[in-house]
Symmetry: C2
Subunit: 299 residues, 2 copies
Amino acid sequence: MDSHRLKDFFTGLQDRIVSELEAFDGRPFHTDSWQRPEGGGGISRLIEDGDVFERGGVNFSHVTGHSLPASATAVRPQLAGRSWEALGVSLVLHPRNPYCPTAHMNVRGFVARKAGEEDVWWFGGGMDMTPYYGRREDVVHFHRTCRDALVPFGDDLYPKYKQWCDAYFFLKHRNEPRGVGGIFFDDLNEGGFERCFGLTQAVGNAFTQAYLPVLAKRRDMPYGERERDFQAYRRGRYVEFNLVWDRGTLFGLQSGGRTESILMSLPPIVKWRYDWQPEAGSGEAELVETFLKPQDWLG
Amino acid sequence: MDSHRLKDFFTGLQDRIVSELEAFDGRPFHTDSWQRPEGGGGISRLIEDGDVFERGGVNFSHVTGHSLPASATAVRPQLAGRSWEALGVSLVLHPRNPYCPTAHMNVRGFVARKAGEEDVWWFGGGMDMTPYYGRREDVVHFHRTCRDALVPFGDDLYPKYKQWCDAYFFLKHRNEPRGVGGIFFDDLNEGGFERCFGLTQAVGNAFTQAYLPVLAKRRDMPYGERERDFQAYRRGRYVEFNLVWDRGTLFGLQSGGRTESILMSLPPIVKWRYDWQPEAGSGEAELVETFLKPQDWLG
């Protein structure tokens, strides 16, 4: 497998997304390049205190290793010990306005190599949205865009990847999903390289169409301390998921990844409060009672 | 082993500590009792928006199970499958004033039982302090109190448990200790039950003497937005340690513990900021350069 094509796509995707986000926010993203001592490196593009985005990052990384750890190949134990190469784009955006949802997108490709044997490769990725105050039309738009991106690759994919997303972005210790979901897939190598790479590209390319129209509708909604406070409280759940359950974050932190780039996913201001319960019938209660129940948004 | 003696000690310790903290703060702690579906329960004592303590909790828990999971017995694999009983007190206190350090203390006893065989028991515990603006005399007082509590049980214990603490409360992804340390021990069953229980009691009983004199000196120091901001930023490290590395927190969250009680350890307000570096020569730089270097505080 030729990783140059992947690298070209992923770096191009990062550039295009950042350009769109910069145009949307009005403030430029900062750029940091980094090298990983064990091989490879990355480019982090970040924004803090933007007009729309309070904190966010769009990371490209291309890392390599001499020997795949057994822990990284749960579904393919026979690959342990191979040299490996992983490339991808990962982003998280935390808008300031509590009526604007937080969003996450990731697309990645992986190759494991051994002299005299064929390369083993697979793709993974997805995107999901985490509102503070839910709006059904926003969730429907986000999910519809995800579905439309997948339809050319099979009608069964959206329902399957939607369920996978609900199952993955779930806080077991809260018995609560992270947000309203989206799509998630991993270990994709069915149907040949071109199909799988094409599907991964379609997901990456669909992100701004899925997310920015939602922000455009909500970015100027007036809010006060109450909404900011609830946003900070709910952001605590985002931290809990990413640090306790997210395999990508944990693998990165435990394998010598670049901490500041990985933890760009964490929100700028977060609050924890003991056993806090929203007032019945409030917009805050609606989030948990209506939007944090996995459901068929396109039904 | 008679767990009633442990229960009496731990519940009494919780009461005594909470009374002292209430007298110190001036505001009462709230009480919540809870049951665990799998067996046992606990009493959480909490404070939020106190005069001194912005958020904190002193938890007693007494939990039982029918079959010890292999993951819980890394050093005693032969005990997997035994019925078990764990009792303890765990506390974390986050003062509002950034000149007041955050503190943590935990003491616990564990028994694994099997019909026809002798009970296997052990103790664990410790305490450690996490300042935002370090003061050498405060660190020395804290460590001296820890040492004095251990001396009756052996001169070699303080250096050993101090090193264990430095090794345990360490953020590998930051290559940074959580704070200025203290003492930590686990799997203690040498020298008989009375000695081990006595040592555990001595550690629990020493906590308020180690910590409150530090707070008494710092609680009225004036501070501004700059110090609050740095405190919120550094509290992010506390969250990262507890959610990524702390075995007690992870075991609790993954084994159906009571989430709101376990996560009382998280600070009330936290900030994350990309690659933030303190100004050279500032009090903020001094924390990292001087106080977050493990050293012999009593030398």
